[in-house]
Amino acid sequence: MREKIFNGIGIGLLALCFVVALTRIVLMNKGRTDDGRKQITLRLAHWQLENGPREAFEEMAKAYMKLNPHIRIEQIAIPERIYPNWLITQLVGETAPDLIEIGIGMTDELLARYFVPITPLVNQPNPHNRGTPLEKTPLRETFFDGMEGGYNQNLFEYYTAPISGVTIRMYYNLELLEAITGSRTLPRTYEELVSLCEKTRAYAEENQAPIVPIAGSRYNGPMLMNLLFSSQTQKLSERIVPPGLLEADPITAAGAYLRDQWDVETPEVRSGLELMRDVGQYMQPGFIQLMRDDATLLFVQKRAVMICSGSWDATSIRLQSGFDLGVGRIPFPSRDNPKYGKYTEGGLSEAGTNAGLGFGLTRNGPHQKEALDFLLFLASQRANQIWTDVSGWIPSVIGTRAGKEVEPFLPQAEGYLRGLQITIGGGFADTTRVFNTNFHLLVSPLGGVDAFTNAIRGQYPETLVSDLHRYVRTQRTLVQRGDTQLGALSWMASRQGENRILQQRFDTFLQADSFNQQQFYRARLLVEQEKSPQP
């Protein structure tokens, strides 16, 4: 009997929850349907779960909704980990939001099939810039990077108007810094960085405090190390790249390697690796196995004096850390450094930084006109001001004032090109894999530079060649794809000769196409020379 009652209560409770929930849902939808005029809901999807962006989007949306009361803006923030399959699911399922952040998991294929290029608009002024100095400026010119960040090199189209930019910086816990060094001045060179690290070690020793100099993780560690590495190979690159290029592209780097102009034992490369290891020793042991948020946590918990991360983490870190935050450029070795000065030109230039974080306009969206308008609004100076003020991220629109917290992140023109990457880069997957799988040898207490180079020296040549083969294949498909486009464009161009935009596009296309072919032929030559060397 007693049990019956209990069951009764249980079921009753459940029923109650059910009714409440149901009414809630029904009402939720009511609120949306029955408000006189037709409501339009635009959805905006992104993976920026750091602190800042979500609030900023909220504000920008508010501002926009004030202008267009009949439009509701919803943002959907998707975790980076599931973003790729979320993306493809939504696109294929044709339930994709109207505007989707382009980047993770995006391929040319998807872009071309599911997104609308905004190329026709880039040469007209942005209507939402009316009343600003940019009133008459064509959209493309209103971005500090000339909207390069929104341009797809392979599809020859603009797909988005990026609203922010990113740079990589060193974050410092000023209070710890002061406690350790007695001053709040940030290290500007690698030498100063090292001395700070040493002081920190000593400090931790005598105070029995669990403090490490640099908070590392498999995300933050290599970020810093790779930057430092490429300072050592600058002069090497200058030796091997032909005039005009200055920075070593995959073909040049691989070619030089096959022509024995460098390998993992070359003094420059070796010194770069030693530099990586040296700085790695100042991060917490085993950092290479830790995740991004482990490092951030370590830093905001005052267990580390510095952390290297992108400008995108600024607000998260600022909000999490209960201490004064210092931000500075990556401290590179200076030329007069006895050990690491020989091969370096100096710090890296950030002048070429492109704007990022752009939203693509999906084809199947029911309200494309409105979505496009909102996209333009996001790209307007006014919205960009809100963006940078609220999110603390770098603005992308010319004339937007960066707050004093954003200032230290702005791209710095002064500096040189980064030197050759040991992983070649440019989709040289196997080479990169060999590098990464052995990376722990470079940093682990048991390992060392020799252990690392010994491990990879053997594998490098063939992975490089196999990568070259892949490069040839992909480059070839790129060229082939170009053929169909070339035909179509040239046919259309000859048809509607007066269409200036089309003509321009065709013209630039031709140049890009020949460049792709040249890269293909150079890569193939390398492969064949490897097979049958010529005297």
Partner: protein, 315 residues
């Protein structure tokens, strides 16, 4: 057994068929149709959208040459074996509870067993994920506190695994060689509420006289278990075995949430289901994913057949 029925009566009882129609429709649409369509699409290069290209058996050929796919079966094999072993605690628990004198305690323990089960699976999973966390995780904390870590490091030195190092937090889900161990450790002590309860149900059918007989022969409690109790729950054990194997083969939620779509560093935790999911919703190779699914289905079908054929136990 349901009573046989004359065709005349059946004709007269035609209305009964209406009872089964809803079930047929739903199952047909949401289970059989997708399955059929999966078979159909496995012959296409299909990116999920409108365009698809017929490519015959190509997908299957690719699957046969797909290293990751085969590796994933290897992983599954390990998991299945470990899961079978993981049945032991539940059985042990059931037997212990059953042997208790007082009914009230028996009941209390049952409640205790059910409790963890009503914490949503995801929550348990995420909590475990948090246990595995290298720096803040409970597992490392425990190992350090108890000094087991030191032992592991020593073992490592002996075996030369180069996995455990002094003063370096163990990254359970970050170090390739630890992925599978982590997957096995997960959910310790592996008490399955449903399992325990149905075993108890089985045990209840043991008659007093059996025990008394055992007592008279002076059987040890292990012998009692081996010859009296275990045979009686064999049916249930077998049932949960089948369920478990099927579930393990099909499931990939655990790997998906703990390790992500790539099966963790080095893809060491990749299981067939996850690989399918990965191909479909990451690479957009939906057709290929279907082909993989069919391999998996055939595989499971085979296993279950074997199970029914040879693992049969008479009730």
């Amino acid at each position: 057994m349901s009573t046989p029925i004359s065709s005349r009566k059946a004709l007269h009882e035609w209305k009964l068929y209406l009872f089964i129609v809803p079930a047929i429709i739903l199952v047909g649409v949401f289970c059989y149709f997708p399955a059929a369509s999966a078979i159909y699409h496995s012959f296409f290069r299909w990116s999920g959208g409108t365009t698809k290209e017929f490519i015959g058996l190509q997908n299957f050929r690719d699957a046969l040459g797909d290293r990751i796919f085969w590796y994933s079966f290897w992983v599954i094999a390990i998991l299945v074996v470990s899961n079978v072993i993981k049945l032991v605690p539940s059985i042990l628990m059931a037997v212990l509870i059953h042997r208790l004198k007082s009914d009230r305690w028996q009941y209390l323990y049952r409640v205790g067993v059910v409790l963890p089960m009503i914490v949503p699976g995801l929550v348990t999973l995420f909590i475990w994920k948090f246990f595995f966390d290298p720096t803040q995780g409970a597992l490392n904390g425990f190992l350090d506190a108890t000094g087991l870590k030191a032992m592991l490091v020593w073992l490592d030195g002996m075996m030369g695994w180069d996995v455990f190092h002094e003063g370096i937090p163990i990254a359970w889900l970050g170090e390739p060689d630890l992925i599978i161990p982590s997957l096995i450790i997960w959910g310790f002590p592996w008490i399955g509420a449903v399992g325990v309860l149905i075993y108890l149900a089985g045990l209840q059918s043991i008659g007093t006289e059996v025990y008394e007989a055992a007592e008279l022969d002076g059987a040890s409690s292990w012998q009692k278990f081996r010859f009296v109790e275990f045979p009686l729950i064999m049916t249930q054990v077998r049932l949960s075995l089948v369920m478990l194997i099927i579930a393990t083969l099909q499931g990939f939620g655990l790997q998906f949430l703990l390790l992500g779509q790539d099966g963790g560093p080095g893809g060491r935790g990749m299981v067939p289901g996850l690989w399918m999911f990965n191909r479909a919703f990451l690479a957009g190779e939906f057709g290929y994913a279907c082909a993989l699914g069919i391999f998996l289905f055939v595989f499971i079908l085979g296993l279950t057949w074997i199970n029914n054929r040879y693992v049969r136990v008479e009730k």
